[in-house]
């Protein structure tokens, strides 16, 4: 057994880290305060090719392996959770098309998504349908040449700027996925949602669909497999990148705390020489490493196409989201009053961390799934 990054992966990690330090970290507080991602950051992501990080080179993507995609999401997440959220939902939409789309859909959308000319989002949740995704109430009814969509989608990350949604609706009472193109969706209203606890730059929207026509050719996959296959497959990637993003948040919390514990003096010595602070730092170090190992294992299994990668991704996301909360909580504690003020980034890490216990399956849904799987394996 060998657990180490290849030279190429190590090289990518360093370039991702440099990119995040140069172009993401300096903007993160602004994203949080203004509740949007700045144009400069979006342009930088596009010119670095990162919006195509998850796509094969044949569609203009970077053709990265999943471990390297994970490393990218850690580094971007270390800089700003909202920017990492963009990579997550855009990738969910792109990979959904890659896996379930027709040749025409792929040719039309994937090169544009890889080059950032089109931004994708994932529209599953509704006011009445959260954890129970199959219970979506949005309907698709047949009409000449296509379908009419009616309903409401809520909490849609990047919904404010997305050009394309993978959107889920009941067709003949069966959950089905559709591609909805904003530019050609009369009857679609996109309402901004502000005032979130964390990941505040995620440009979240509520979508109102009032007789929105989508052509027959925009049905993604096939009738009835919307949640059981399309959404689950997209969410697998979502969960994976959220887990890596959590490591980024935790790593940022740890690094800030190490600097602070060395510099801040009380009782005539740096607080880091206090064993109670050292205990927190120890927990932070080991927790971050543990979460990273789980993510690396999930990534490796994805790269070799192993069916166990699916459950290992649930495990990794569950642990990493709890880890981000514990580690960012310690970071606030170590920073004292400064940890409670926006002049120090750890208060943002603390708020951002909590979101990850709710999205891509809440911690409770993970507990249900992981425990049932363990019980079944006996």
């Amino acid at each position: 057994m060998k657990i180490e990054l290849s030279d190429a992966q190590q090289g990518y990690k360093e370039s991702f880290r440099h990119f995040a330090d140069s172009y993401i970290v300096p903007y993160a507080q602004r994203h949080d305060a203004e509740e949007r991602i700045s144009e400069e950051v979006l342009d930088r992501l596009i010119s670095a090719g990162y919006l195509g990080s998850m796509l094969p080179t044949s569609f203009g993507g970077m053709g990265l392996d999943m471990v390297t995609v994970g490393l990218l999401n850690e580094e971007i997440g270390r800089g700003c959770s909202a920017v990492r959220s963009l990579l997550t939902v855009h990738g969910m939409a792109a990979l959904g098309i890659l896996r379930f789309g027709t040749a025409d859909m792929k040719a039309q959308w994937l090169p544009r998504m890889a080059s950032g000319k089109a931004i994708g989002a994932f529209a599953l949740s509704e006011p009445e349908a959260g954890s129970n995704a199959a219970g979506v109430k949005t309907t698709a009814t047949r009409t000449a040449g296509g379908f009419l969509l009616n309903g409401c989608k809520r909490w849609i990350t990047m919904g404010q700027i997305a050009d394309l949604f993978i959107l889920f609706a009941q067709l003949d009472g069966k959950p089905t996925a559709f591609l909805v193109e904003k530019a050609n969706a009369e009857g679609l209203t996109v309402n901004k949602m502000n005032g979130f606890l964390g990941a505040r730059g995620s440009m979240i929207a509520e979508l109102q669909l009032n007789d929105v026509f989508v052509p027959e050719s925009h049905l993604l996959g096939k009738e009835g497999i919307g949640v059981s296959h399309v959404a689950l497959s997209c969410l697998d990637y979502g969960r994976y990148t959220v887990a890596w993003g959590c490591i980024g948040t935790a790593q940022a919390s740890l690094e800030a705390s190490l600097h602070f514990a060395k510099e801040r003096e009380q009782f005539g010595q740096p607080i880091g020489s206090n064993q109670l602070i050292q205990k927190m730092i120890t927990e932070m170090v080991v927790t971050v490493k543990s979460a990273r190992l789980l993510c690396l294992q999930a990534g490796y299994l994805k790269d070799i196409g192993d069916p166990d990668s699916i459950m290992e991704t649930w495990n990794a996301k569950y642990f990493a989201s709890l880890a981000a909360n514990q580690v960012s909580g310690h970071a606030v504690q170590i920073h004292g009053a400064r940890g409670c003020h926006q002049d120090f980034p750890v208060e943002r890490y603390f708020r951002d961390a909590k979101i990850n216990e709710i999205i891509e399956g809440s911690s409770q849904m993970h507990e249900v799934m992981i425990a049932n799987h363990a019980l079944q394996a006996l």
Binding site: F100, I310, M311, M369
Partner: protein
């Protein structure tokens, strides 16, 4: 075909530990599998038999029993 059935049975046995699965027994009707099973099964088929499961094939009717799975694999791997 028999060789493929052995591989399929081995994969399924992870989910049906205490149950001797018959070749024509409906996997989904037994209630052992959760919502992730279909995805795991498809990944298994694609990796083990080096085939691509198209969205149009994603029908529980294709995957309900060991016999149906084996004929699906046969159909997909047949060289033309």
């Amino acid at each position: 075909m028999e060789e493929n059935k052995v591989k399929i049975r081995k994969f399924l046995s992870r989910f049906f530990k205490k149950h001797e699965l018959g070749d024509d027994e409906d996997i989904f009707a037994l209630g052992f599998v959760n919502s992730l099973f279909a995805m795991q099964l498809i990944m298994f088929l694609e990796k083990e038999f080096e085939l691509a499961v198209d969205p149009q094939d994603m029908d529980f009717a294709n995957f309900k029993t060991i016999n149906l799975l084996a004929s699906f694999v046969e159909k997909k791997t047949v060289k033309v």
